[in-house]
């Protein structure tokens, strides 16, 4: 983190803004190509949400935020934990099963469930960590395999502990008792639904993430490993241990993803539980550049698009799935824009340094060209 300067701020904001503009244009072009009513689509999406929808947006963003932070912890170290999807499902299953048993009274149950979920997520992630450190298997492939394995394992375990949900054919874990259910916070005026109580958890996680990564020794080692593994090793970082710790931490954080949904909405884990949160988290972490505030903004954007697109079928006659196109184009545009801006930043700084040095010393020897 360098000093706060106007130039830095401009560059930091330039990339997402540039990308959004490009994404807007490209998406419109695609919609035109497909014969969809471009104007109506944008009108629907860019309309101001009603209070009820605002709550939905915030709630969706909360869950996305947790997912993205879990992924970002790994990303900062060049570790690609794609397995967040499997980890959160294993964790929320374990948590839901535990919470349903209600061995402990209300609030304690909530707390312990969160711990159980974190442990479960961490354990599932540790398999990938072991395979990477001991057998050299890329965590990208191993975590994806583990995602698929998690699907099967959780499904099997669910059948074992299943309880039929009233009024539907789907099965789920035993619903958690009233005393453990969290009613939510009435943060948005005029809305009948409530914001998840566990938004507080998300805020806490974000603050902790910022603190650990930027202010602690561990965070320094983590970032150093991500920037240059060779330099980190020479500086004394034990990379295999960092990999294991970070993967497990990432998995534990992934375990939190399902908690707001569990306590604030579904109250059990079953076949209809929201899926795909892990992959959304990856996209959001990339959008937010692994920065705690950036991720928050990205999560809100993503959730905003989700919620607004629900009305597309009715108001524009377009399937709500078109939001995937919008999200996808934004993701790529942003990723490319970030790379371009980063490069420009490095080049500009090199030139600035060379200029300033040449100015201060009139007979400085010619600099050794680009050092990178």
């Amino acid at each position: 983190m360098s000093t706060f300067s106007p130039r830095k701020l401009l560059l930091a904001v330039a990339a997402p803004v540039l990308a959004l503009v490009v994404a807007f244009l490209v998406t419109s072009a695609i919609l035109l190509l497909l014969g969809d009513p471009v104007v109506e689509v944008w009108q629907t999406i860019l309309s101001w949400p009603k209070p009820r929808q605002l709550v939905q947006i915030v709630n969706g963003a909360t869950v996305y935020y947790l997912s993205a932070v879990a992924v970002a912890v790994g990303f900062r170290m060049n570790l690609f934990n794609i397995g967040v999807d499997g980890q959160y499902r294993v964790a929320v299953f374990a948590g839901a099963a535990f919470a349903g048993q209600a061995w402990f009274p209300g609030p304690l149950n909530v707390l312990l469930t969160i711990v159980v979920a974190m442990v479960a997520g961490g354990l599932w992630a540790s398999i990938a960590a072991y395979l990477k450190v001991r057998r050299g298997i890329s965590e990208v492939i191993s975590t994806i395999m583990l995602n698929a394995i998690a699907t099967g394992v959780v499904q099997w375990l669910l059948l074992k502990v299943a309880v039929k949900q009233q009024g539907s054919n789907s099965i789920s874990t035993k619903p958690i008792p009233e005393s453990s259910q969290l009613d939510g916070l009435g943060l948005i005026p005029g809305a009948t639904n409530k914001v998840y109580t566990l938004i507080l958890l998300a805020v806490l996680v974000g603050a902790l993430y910022w603190f650990v990564i930027n202010k602690t020794r561990f965070g320094f080692d983590l970032r150093a490993t991500g920037r240059s593994e060779s330099a980190a090793v020479a500086s004394g970082v034990k990379v295999p241990r960092m990999v294991v710790t970070t993967m497990i931490a990432s998995g534990a954080l992934a375990g939190l993803i399902g908690m707001p949904l569990l306590f604030g909405q579904d109250h059990s884990y079953g076949t209809t539980f929201q899926a795909g949160l892990g992959f959304a988290g990856i996209g959001i972490a990339l959008l937010g550049r692994n920065h705690p505030l950036g991720i928050a903004a990205a999560a809100l954007l993503w959730s905003f698009l989700d919620v607004q697109s629900n009305a597309l079928q009715i108001r524009a006659g377009v399937a709500s799935e078109v939001v995937f196109i919008i999200q996808g184009v934004i993701l790529f545009a942003v990723v490319i824009a970030y790379e371009l801006i980063r490069r420009a930043d490095v080049r500009l700084e090199q030139q600035r340094v060379a200029r300033e040095l040449a100015a201060t010393r009139s007979d400085a020897s010619t600099p050794e060209g680009a050092t990178a």
Binding site: M77, V133, V233, I282
Partner: protein
Amino acid sequence: MSVTGLDAGVEKVTATPRRLRLSPLQWVGVGLGAVLVLSILRVVTGANDVDSSGLLIAAFGLAVPIALAGLGGLWSERAGVVNIGLEGMMILGTWGAGFLGYHLGPWWGLVGAVIGGAVGGLIHAIATVTFGVDHIVSGVALNIVALGFAKYLSVRFFSTLPGGGPTQSPPLEELPTISIPGLSDALGELEQKHIFFISDLAGVLRAFCTNVSVVTILAVLLFIATAYILWRSTFGLRLRSVGESPVAAESLGVNVLRYKFLAVLVSGGLAGLGGGFLALVAANVFRDGQTGGRGYIGLAAMIFGNWRPGGLMAGSVLFGYTDAAQLRGGGTTVHAFLLLLAVLLIGIGIWQIVRKGRVVQGVIALVVGVIVGAWYALTDIVPPELSSTLPYVTTLLVLAFASQRLRMPAADGQIYRKGEGH
């Protein structure tokens, strides 16, 4: 090896590893050995489906998409571009096959598949080669994007069609398959007799000449073409040089970025074709999610094959076999594999301790082997939810044991900008 930037202190092979280059005759020997093992397993466990021709036909069939995806990965990585986005390209391929396959017929469906995959390849190429985005980031993003695109395009174009729906296309016409009638029946009879080893061999041979899809033949031809192009032509030499040392290549006048771009496009097309197989041959319909991670398994097969077509093919057959086993045989076949796995693990465990002196790892292998053996003994069948994980577990196990002696293209994953070398 590691596809990503972190090596995590795994012991790297510093000297030239003994290259496992088997002659065709030796490959046949390996094949016969495998058949022998399977026949023993069949007789011991009584699971007759273990190497039945029905299963093997399905196995070869399911190996094709994995092999094509892996071949795509090979083209890309030989040019130094890591392609995690194979899954996404495959997904686009399945959709393209469904779309053109429905409107214009199955042969056009194949074209649609290649185009769909190539579009994915184009996006990945622009991001990584033109703009220098990290390869893995781009690949992961592509998978997310392709999934979403396919979902939307499916809803948009298939829901209103007769027989179609929001997550699937209408049924697609079949592509022709080829069988050798006389031989096929004769081998079939031999197989039914259940004679140790002879019948198994007959089953294997029958699978080669019965109901072989034209796409399978196409895939085999593509493999041969790849081996020739990449290793015996100027184009291939330059492409591989770009993946080994882009700086050297550029200094000799090779247009590095152009070769990378092309390689990624071809990669997308091949992966898309793999998706086309899934839609047109395996299922005769496009269905949301039908790729099921096979793009990644293809990547694993490529790694297993040490970035060469021959090994890749072998790996694909292995993975295709596990895929077929869990789809067809379900519980009983997978259950039989537990025994095989137990024996292998115990064997490895003993070897690690006795020959290599790695006691901790050997004990772990032994313990796990015993647990698996106990599982086999105490149950009759593996529940379907668990047996569905067989291909993925196999992928992990294979990678775990094969990873150490591999050699990837030297500049794989390197982000290259023009003029970087100087």
